[in-house]
């Protein structure tokens, strides 16, 4: 194509010498070489009238020039066609009437699901504070809580809340620059920009937004260069009054291997904890999800399913399974069906997979700041008794060890001691402090596995 353009340019230069300036400008300027096949040369000109003149009056001149540059005996034909040299430019020219419509679809926000909005979020005491602060941030981005740091276990609705903020801000003012990204993607972008030597471009991208949302921030742990980049981005955005929203599975103070200065900035705005949805909320979530799938779900069935899982994602999985099963059998979604299908499914609250008892004891010791030897010793100081009983509980519940085995591990204690300890912790589980401790220890376990 470019060859043809160049060839035609040469031919035109030749022709220009042989015709008057007026003729050249009006007749030849807007011609182009359309194709060159064998010895047939097709020349495009914008109108039949121009073609008529070219053919009748300038054929000889054109042919001579063409023959000279193609070095053959060419036969020349003309085609009425407008070759717009500025096609590329034309695309950019404004047609606001037509562009106007684009922002109407929220699809403009990459990575953000349109159906995650505040309206379809179920709210109860476990996530009410988070919900209220998120709506406040969406109403007045960058003005009140900056940054907003949401943390909570999987499937408690962090992502839903954050995407709702993005959707709401966008709905209110679609000229706002919104960037939703996971910390993994952030890492990739930074790495990629360093690799391709395009850091300036990357910096511009992150530092020019009105709302930056980073999901699962805990994954930047141990990545120093990324943290540095985030630190600077953070400072600039806050200075510009742009809103930042972050999420993590634990509070800033518990994120390890992240620089202090960055952590203190994370905690500098509002830090809100979202708890695992309670039973009522789970039921409500199920009803909302069922509506989304266009399925009628009775409250009774929702309750049955809500008992079987803790986080919203598992709930959705169970719900889908129930729906699919009902459809496959051609039945209504009934209590019997749900019971039959999900009845034997255990409540998988804490963690899946097994660990060596020593690891768990190490974790417990790290958490309570005691030594394993102290834990296993015969001393019965109050600061040792609690960790020890927690250890009994976790070893029993998670590893399913027998009371005798646990007794052996913990320094040769009698199995009745262990039974008492487990029972005591079970009774205390209602108290939030202890159950929080236990879930923190479980998290530690998972994390250590990741580290290995």
């Amino acid at each position: 194509m470019d060859d043809q353009k160049e060839l035609w340019g040469k031919i035109l230069a030749e022709i220009e010498l042989n015709v008057s300036r007026a003729n050249f400008l009006t007749l030849f300027k807007r011609t182009a070489l359309l194709s060159l096949e064998g010895n047939v040369v097709t020349i495009a000109a914008p109108s039949t009238m121009i073609i008529d003149l070219l053919q009748r009056r300038f054929y000889e001149i054109i042919k001579r020039a063409v023959d000279k540059h193609t070095q053959m005996d060419a036969s020349i034909i003309f085609a009425p066609k407008t070759i717009v040299a500025t096609v590329e430019q034309a695309k950019e020219s404004n047609m606001p009437l037509f562009e106007e419509e684009k922002p109407k679809t929220i699809g403009h926000l990459p990575r953000v699901r349109q159906d995650y909005t505040f309206e379809n979020m179920a709210v109860s005491s476990s996530n009410q504070l988070a919900y209220v602060s998120a709506t406040t941030v969406a109403k007045k981005p960058g003005q009140i809580y900056n940054p907003l740091f949401l943390y909570g276990p999987v499937g408690c609705g962090k992502t839903h809340l954050m995407q709702s903020i993005a959707n709401e801000v966008f709905k209110n003012d679609n000229s706002k620059k919104i960037l939703y990204i996971t910390s993994e993607e952030f890492t990739n972008e930074v790495v990629e920009s360093i690799r391709t030597n395009a850091t300036a471009q990357m910096k511009r991208k992150f530092r020019n937004v009105d709302l930056l949302i980073i999901d699962d921030i805990q994954f930047i742990a141990g990545k120093e260069k990324i943290q540095e980049e985030l630190f600077h981005t953070f400072n600039i955005l806050v200075d510009n009054g742009s809103q930042i929203v972050l999420s993590s599975d634990r509070p800033p103070s518990e994120i390890q291997k992240v620089e202090k200065r960055l952590l203190s900035r994370f905690a500098g705005g509002l830090t809100v904890d979202i708890e695992q949805p309670d039973f009522e909320l789970r039921t409500a979530i199920l009803l909302i999800k069922a509506k989304k799938y266009g399925v009628g779900l009775s409250i009774e069935v929702a309750k049955i399913i809500a008992e079987k899982a803790q986080d919203a994602r598992s709930l959705e999985g169970l719900l889908l399974r129930t729906i699919t099963e009902a459809q496959a059998k051609g039945e209504e979604i009934s209590e019997e069906l749900a019971n039959k299908l999900l009845g034997n499914k255990k409540d998988e609250t804490i963690i899946v997979g097994s660990f060596h008892p020593d690891e768990i004891i190490n974790n417990i010791c790290t958490y309570y700041k005691v030594k394993p030897t102290q834990l296993k010793s015969s001393k019965r100081d109050a600061f040792l008794v609690k960790p020890r009983q927690v250890a009994m509980y976790i070893l029993k519940k998670e590893l399913g060890l027998t009371y005798v085995e646990i007794g052996n591990i913990l320094g040769g204690r009698d199995h009745t001691t262990i039974m008492h300890g487990v029972e005591k912790v079970e009774n205390l589980m209602g108290k939030t402090k202890l159950s929080e401790d236990i879930s923190s220890i479980s998290r530690l376990a998972v994390e250590n596995v990741v580290d290995y």
Binding site: A22, S47, L53, A90, N94, P96, L97
Partner: protein
């Protein structure tokens, strides 16, 4: 070449022929008329290479032949002759024009240098009534872009529809759409969309010629279209470009609809324009229950508001438009009763003519910072 004809017959056609005389005049031949005599008729043609016009008048042809003369001088002379019998005769390079009292001789350029307007007329695709061109196309053509880097916007899209064509034009800021352009009994609707230069349609509207029907021809081979009315042919080329997908931007819903008199609104727009001229021509329309309040202000000049009686259905609303777009729309509509529909200040507003579902015009609003 030698012919005799009545000067008034020719002078009636000259002003239209001059529309296609090249104004830039880079190529001298394009500022000439082509004069031809054939079979008892005197043909005159002009072209600027983009558009061509050919017309003919009855004449007493004594000897056939053809030549070209400078259009400007020739038209000026002929239009000042009054009602006279004119004899034209060509000898060597000189064209002699004589009446009872006047004797003049023009320097000519050989007819061979003049471009041929068309090879063949092409296929007849429509017979459009004169009033359809004047009224329905007139409501559409003004919305096309005059100068645009996008060729498609300088054209009118004729799109196949049941029993005729849909005509659409837009310059990217506003859009006019007219359905049911009837194509007559003999016409055959092209499956392919036709994009006709707006200039050509504007010329057709200004064409005064006998007969009440325009025949439209299309030759896809040479990418050309010809309109013929009476003795006059207007030749143009089809635009090869993709017209923007206009269907998508026509709003389907509205939450405010108001009916008003076009004349009243037009007056109000004229009055308010005085104060809008220096601030990007912005007029604000406030839709109230029983009226539309048009307002404009320029900090250095002043401000004013004009009430236009109207009947609102739905919510009260506000929107701002460029005054030029409003006044161009209002002056291209003949009917007096119109409606305006809108949904929020950021969505295009839609104007319609009451009792005519075939037409709509939409204008993109201006975002005004409060």
């Amino acid at each position: 070449m030698k012919i005799v004809f009545l000067s008034s017959n020719l002078s009636a056609k000259l002003s239209f022929l001059n529309h296609a005389v090249s104004s830039r005049g880079q190529l001298p031949i394009l500022s000439n008329f082509l004069l031809e005599t054939k079979k008892g008729k005197f043909h005159i043609s002009s072209t600027d290479l983009e558009m061509g016009i050919q017309t003919s008048i009855p004449a007493n042809v004594e000897e056939e032949g053809k030549t070209t003369v400078p259009a400007k001088n020739f038209s000026e002379l002929v239009s000042n002759l009054g009602e006279e019998k004119v004899t034209l005769s060509l000898s060597d390079q000189s064209l002699k024009l004589t009446t009872g009292k006047v004797k003049s001789a023009f320097q000519t350029t050989p007819a061979e240098e003049f471009p041929k307007l068309f090879e063949e007329k092409g296929e007849e695709v429509a017979q459009i009534k004169r009033e359809v061109i004047d009224k329905k196309m007139g409501r559409v053509v003004f919305a096309a872009a005059v100068e645009s880097s996008r060729p498609a916007l300088s054209g009118i899209l004729l799109q196949k529809a049941k029993g005729g064509y849909i005509a659409v034009a837009t310059d990217g800021y506003r859009l006019s759409l007219q359905k049911n352009i009837s194509i007559g009994e003999k016409g055959e609707v092209k499956d392919k969309d036709l994009l006709i230069p707006a200039r050509l349609i504007k010329e057709l509207i200004s064409l005064k010629e006998e007969g009440d029907t325009l025949k439209m021809y299309v030759s896809e081979k040479s990418n050309q279209t010809i309109f013929e009315q009476g003795e006059t042919l207007v030749v143009g080329r089809l635009i090869e470009a993709k017209f923007p997908e206009y269907e998508k931007i026509i709003p389907e819903e509205h939450n405010s609809k108001t009916s008003f008199s076009r004349q009243d609104l037009q007056n109000a727009v004229r009055i308010c324009s005085v104060f809008a001229r220096e601030t990007a021509n912005i007029l604000k329309l406030s839709l109230k229950k029983d009226r539309i309040v048009i307002s404009a202000n320029t900090p250095s000049v002043g401000e004013n508001t004009v009430d236009v009686e109207a009947k609102l259905e739905g919510e009260e609303n506000e929107i701002a438009f460029n005054a030029r777009y409003l006044s161009e729309l209002l002056s291209n509509i003949e009917e007096d009763e119109m409606t305006f529909e809108m949904q929020g200040p950021f969505n295009s507003g839609v104007f319609r003519v009451v009792g005519d579902n075939d037409f709509l015009h939409l204008i993109m609003p201006i975002r005004v910072q409060e």
